[in-house]
Homo-oligomer: 327 residues x 2
């Protein structure tokens, strides 16, 4: 099938660019040094490709992602890098399941739900989940007292990701990992899980890196000097043309805008509506012409689509279900 | 089932508020005077409720929405208020199908796809789809020459919706409808389709109003002095707490942010991540506590969810599939 045969809007990835990204990471952080985060693509077929390249342990953000990977036979070592208050669906999985805990309540929930292994989630500077570093040891004791195996710690230096200066980004990462390493000394276990696409190369303290975006690659990470290039776009079709602008059928329901407005290749965007983009084209367009829209933030863009179309040039060579959507 | 038994994040609507909105509109614009836009809820069960109240003709933004309503037996009079270049899926529907056209190409596509009826889409001031008003008559002739039945015109005064001053909003609506009425005189037919939730009461020129948001009702329309109140919220659960902030499991993948950041009831939002909201709670919270997040823009928020939970107080009294998602 050709690109032009697809109903639009359609989520597409350039297979060569995606494959190059996957291989770069597999060379840089082989095997267990990398625990791919599936929240970035929510796609079992893409996860299977990551496993083929040696990354057999995965990171998830939702219970649904854990369930889907387990059902697909990719459950060798699944980490839910997030807190949950009802862990019964996790406890029921036919997979090795580890869940992040950062409070008495989440420890109790893990034990009650039948989960056997946990990481102590430590706040290393991003105001989100994680206990204070000084509380990590005490929580590990409580977890063990509740019958849980404590595999180690995790802590996400998300506040380092947007830092443009590479040296400064490395410095902030080092400070965050000093907190995590200190917590680890109190907690024990052999896992120190951290990192993301923008710190994968500078975070040398973590035993495993939780990067996800590198595969499809955010346009908003253009500043970050990384060996990955954007492979994702949303295909739209021009449906209306006037003297001053053109309108295509790729709008807010097909593109996430939280990291900034998506760019249209060969056009200057005026605004987005639910199902439309109005833009000034660089060269005249006619109804039926195809356009490519470049999402700034891949994770929530992918989550809006049912399928990912893999391309070689203009040929659709494969179609992967975004089967880990929803919750 | 109780609210607290739902996995989170969960899309919820207060049934009494939703029902009051639906009844207000059915009284204000009974029967065919109102052609509900299903893009706002993408939910066949909600559309059925609108049909029960007398609105048996529907407006859609996507082919998928048209297919879903037709399959559900709600195809008495379906309008795709949008241009398409491949109309074969529309032509195959077991329903009365009308599609908007605004160019030679979209007329040819309708005829080729087996669609029999069209509206001439006229640009009445919003830079999006629609032909120039002066071109409407010529396009109607072309459509008839192509064997299509021209039912009339449509034109969306979307540029009037954000105007806070009611008198000014009415004035801009009048100017837009003057263009549409003039085009209608050239086109013929008995349909003048226009309007939206913020102009439903002041647009007295349209024979039918295409409002959608009124049912679940946008918080971003709070300025508009309308007899509808927000009935939609996203239920989240507190998963982590620190001294200064709390974190709940309702993030960017569960909430559309294009009309501004969603508010948390009883809290002040710091920021959203893919699956999290970090906020300062007005009163102390514990992990497991429930929160309500109020989306500014319902349409793309609903499109992120698989199901809508109907509530009476804290009781989940019904669950409706968001079955018209995707394309």
């Amino acid at each position: 099938m050709k690109l032009g045969d697809l109903p639009t809007p359609a989520l597409c990835a350039d297979r060569a660019a995606l494959e190059a990204n996957l291989r770069s990471m597999a060379e840089g952080l082989p095997g267990r040094r990398m625990r791919p985060h599936v929240k970035a693509h929510k796609c079992t077929a893409l996860a299977r490709r990551q496993a083929d390249l040696g990354h057999v342990a995965f990171t998830c953000a939702t219970i649904r992602e854990m369930e889907g990977l387990a059902a697909a036979g990719l459950g060798e070592d699944l980490l839910l890098a997030n807190e949950v208050l009802d862990a019964h669906r996790l406890g029921a999985l036919d997979a090795r399941v580890t869940v992040a805990v950062d409070s008495e309540e989440t420890i109790a929930a893990a034990a009650r739900g039948g989960v056997r292994e946990v990481l102590i989630d430590v706040n290393v500077g991003l105001p989100r989940c994680g206990c204070p570093p000084a509380a990590a040891g005490g929580l590990a004791d409580r977890a063990r007292a509740a019958g849980l195996e404590v595999r180690g710690v995790m802590g996400y230096e998300g506040h380092a990701m947007p830092i443009e200066d590479v040296a400064r980004r490395a410095e902030v990462t080092e400070q965050a990992m000093a907190l995590l390493t200190a917590a680890h000394a109190e907690v024990g276990g052999d896992v120190v899980s951290a990192g993301g696409t923008c710190t994968w190369a500078v975070n040398t303290w973590a035993t495993e890196i939780q990067a996800g975006s590198y595969a499809l690659m955010d346009h908003s990470y253009a500043y970050a000097d990384l060996p990955f290039r954007p492979s994702l776009f949303v295909l739209g079709r021009v449906i209306s043309v006037s003297d001053a602008f053109a309108v295509a059928d790729a709008g807010l329901k097909a593109l996430a805008m939280d990291h900034g407005s998506s760019d249209v290749e060969g056009g200057s965007v005026w605004f987005y509506s639910d199902e439309h983009v109005t833009f000034a084209p660089a060269a005249p367009l006619r109804p039926g012409d195809l356009i490519r829209v470049l999402p700034k933030h891949v994770d929530p863009t992918v989550a809006k689509h049912p399928r990912l179309h893999l391309l070689e040039g203009d040929e659709v060579v494969d179609v992967w279900e975004i089967d880990l959507r929803d919750w």
